[in-house]
Symmetry: C2
Subunit: 156 residues, 2 copies
DNA sequence: CGGGATTGCGCAATTG
DNA sequence: TCAATTGCGCAATCCC
């Protein structure tokens, strides 16, 4: 709904200097031909720009032009496909990492719990010692702490 | 989702039916792309379009046409910006997740080590018991295992 | 300098 | 009806 007043003139497509439109019109394809050349005067063969190269537009009706376009079109397609592929890979990587993350967190949770259990046992033991409780040979409490319970933490 | 299969196989600039050319107007437009409108009438090859609506091409020299184009160009720009933004976000997310993963792995390493230490202590203890070593108050070995050593595992 | 790879842009068909 | 998407071609650059 709300829509600002018309955008007057939207000619952003304008490049700074040159816009060439090929001459002519063989059959179909007549284009409003206008050839705007950058105002800068240096009509030298070697422009100051680093790469500033502006080759002749190459006429649109030549075979070479057509060939070049065709090649470029293929290249563009290829490039875009690649780009899309890469994007998808990235997305996949996110999921992969997320999974791994969960796995790791689960592991941490487990380890933490085990650690907590062991700590409690230690504390208990410490208390026993402190309370001067001597374990003759069957206190029962600690003897239960066979390695078996602890084992599974390391693996996986 | 949704990515309709692009069927267009290979239709270069060949058979064309109608070519609309811009009529000058204000400033200059881009190169007139050839709008190909297939002349064939029958047409069974109509892809299952949801809307199945085919408006008349709308002449290119009308104000309305121009307005519509302008709007669409804006929408396209917007959409592409958004798309690019999203891609970058995804990339960032990957890095974020990678970092988090490292953090988690470090933590796991730490916890594992602590657990290992505790386990060893337990084993030692068990051995002492098994060997019939009575720890009245001078065994010295286990007494050292004060809670202090264990404490730090839980935090951070 | 040549030529593929990228990138920004507009067009048109579709989709929602 | 209109905005958002998407495939596509063109031209300017970039980059070997």
């Amino acid at each position: 709904m709300s829509k600002p007043p018309g955008q007057t003139g939207t000619m952003e497509a304008n490049r700074l200097g040159t816009l060439h439109l090929p001459t002519q019109g063989s059959g179909l394809q007549q284009v409003p031909q206008l050839t705007v050349v950058s105002p800068s005067g240096g009509g030298k063969a070697t422009p100051p720009s680093k790469h500033g190269k502006k080759n002749a537009p190459l006429e649109r009706n030549t075979d070479e032009y057509r060939q070049r376009r065709e090649r470029n079109n293929m290249a563009v397609k290829k490039s875009r496909l690649k780009s899309k592929q890469k994007a998808q890979d990235t997305l996949q990587r996110v999921n992969q990492l997320k999974e791994e993350n969960e796995r790791l967190e689960a592991k941490i949770k487990l380890l933490t719990k085990e650690l907590s259990v062991l700590k409690d046992l230690f504390l208990e033991h410490a208390h026993n010692l402190a309370d001067n409780v001597q374990p003759p040979s069957s206190t029962g409490t600690e003897s239960t702490i066979a390695p078996s319970t602890i084992q599974d933490s390391t693996d996986q």
